[in-house]
Amino acid sequence: MPTSRFHSAMNVLAVVLPSLASVPAMGQIGNPGGLDPATSESAPGTPAPGQTNATDKLFVKLVGMGNAGEVDLGKLAEANGSHAGVKAFARRMAQDHSATATKLSAAAKPAGIPVPTAPGPDQKATRASLEGLQGAAFDAVYLQAQLIEHQKTVQLLEWEIGSGQEASLQRLAMETLPVVLDHLAMVQALIAETRGTVPQGLAGAQLAERMTRP
């Protein structure tokens, strides 16, 4: 069973997740120095919808592969994981990343950017290292891979917010970032719990707060 600490982390997330309404409707106002030179403008200085740069394209590719991998690994971990918290987290990953994959397809479609539907080399390598593992050994490798994957995804989303061009993709990045940070905090909480160490990163900040305040 998950301990009360993990429940606490999940409860915090349940409270804060619906608060996405404050995300601004527009994309960023970027540095035109980094626009694709062929960009057409809907108004002077404003890229027309569907006009992308190299950041947008690579972002869609990497995040698309990541989503596919998360869904695949989530299903695997729900079946093969042993810790109840890990299995619940894996189910959540399959659900959330499947939902994000749908949103990513919708956002990338007007721009004509192909969205990968299969996991990439990173996710395939993770799957290969999980093959044949059971129990706590499976959990440990899955969580470590999830930690790295979410740490990298946070940076990727921030990169798109700062350097992308297509407003719908940037909006998606802005909406998704707090959720991915929540996922990261959940992985950190689970790693702490299963390794018997203190939680790191955001999980540390959130749980320390819960433990020290009534």
């Binding site: 608060s19 106002i29 035109p32 740069n53 440990a140 940076q155 970032l177 707090p178 707060e209």
Partner: protein
Amino acid sequence: MHLLKHIARLAAVPAAVVAVNVGAADPLPPDTTYRPLPTQPFSDVKRMDEAQKPKVMQRQSALLGQRYDLANRPVPGVMMSGGRKAVQGGVRVRLREGTTWDRLAAMSPQEIRDRGLLPDGFKPLPHVKHATGGQVFPQNQIDEINRLEQRDLRRFDVDLDLPDHLTPEFPPPIFLTTHTELGDVSRGQLLSIRNYYELMTGLITPVQMEGLRLLLTPFPQEEFNQTEDRKVAAPSLGVACLDCHANFHTNAAFHLTPDVRPQAARFRLDTTSLRGLFNQQIHGSKRSLRSVEDFTEFEQRTAYFNGDHVSATRKGANLPDRTNQVAMMAQMQNIIDFPPAPKLDWRGRLDPTKGTAQELAGERVFFGKGRCSECHVAQTSFLDNNMHDLKLERFYRVGETANDMVALPDGPIKTFTLRGIKDSPPYLHDGRLLTLADTVEFFNLVLGLKLTAQEKEALTAYLMVL
């Protein structure tokens, strides 16, 4: 399952298994760390930047107006040290609807976070155009450097976003540790490469003079240079150290931290005053460089080029000679004194015969319930020469984007001095707090102090005499 049982089971997992994935991973794209080369001709960039500018300024103005009361409301009778500008008063950060400062202070950080009640003005402040970033100068500095040097510090993509009355007096007075009897030696002028010699001959030594010359000499900077990547209309000689640290103080010019990537995660930096640098043991809000020589030398890669030495090499790196130039620049900076604080004794304590009852009450809060003195140690110029993490992220949901900046934990930031603090608004490393009353409310909440209204007012009054 019981936690201990887990640990026992996990002990059987070899560490090598857990590390398997790390080696197989692709790295993140290179321009998450490095500045990409520009993709468009200068004329196109300039045209688009100029077209975007009204929207950029309007968006930032809306954010500031939503976060703060920007009114011109000076504290009666309190001027900055040169007597050129009044100190602004009152709490300017706007509360969320339906709450009060006292009610907020009574809540736990978690409740404030879960209910989204942290005032936005307490959150990290975005750059006026975060996706581009870079140095932004106030109009008074732009005008004066243009008049003195015919050098253009105006960017075509952005202007400074703060109203003039919320920034330091200009030009700021200059106080020398080597001539305390003279008081302000600026003669009401802004130091520049054109006038420094006539203003300072007879007051400083030859090595200090040479240091001053170098601190006033423009060198290429990320937005001010000759390439198509610049944000100034004509190819530019660059900027000088004292373009931001005007008269060795600050003119509220701002920048983004050179120490964080990617761009959206970089926090804003409000220019720090160089007054009292002689007693400061660590330099740079994040880098904790251990000498002013190290800092002066390396700013050519950081303040000038955002911590990207690759970009610096393309646009023109200045490599000051350590013994012949850096040391002299440091020696000049090390004779810049704090403004006078006649009510303080040599230990930085209020003279009870000079302080008012309210100021003395404020000092008691500062050293007692307010816990300010735990980091701002009076005897060492209100510094502890350490960095501390206030963990503000306990109070808000991390990862939300405001004007293209992602709000993330600030992490450890160095303690700044409080000597002469009324002269250097805005406050905190990014300038997110506009008045000293704002900083009192900020620390009341973050440190969980539960100060009364009377104690807050006394503390604010005390800060004005430091």
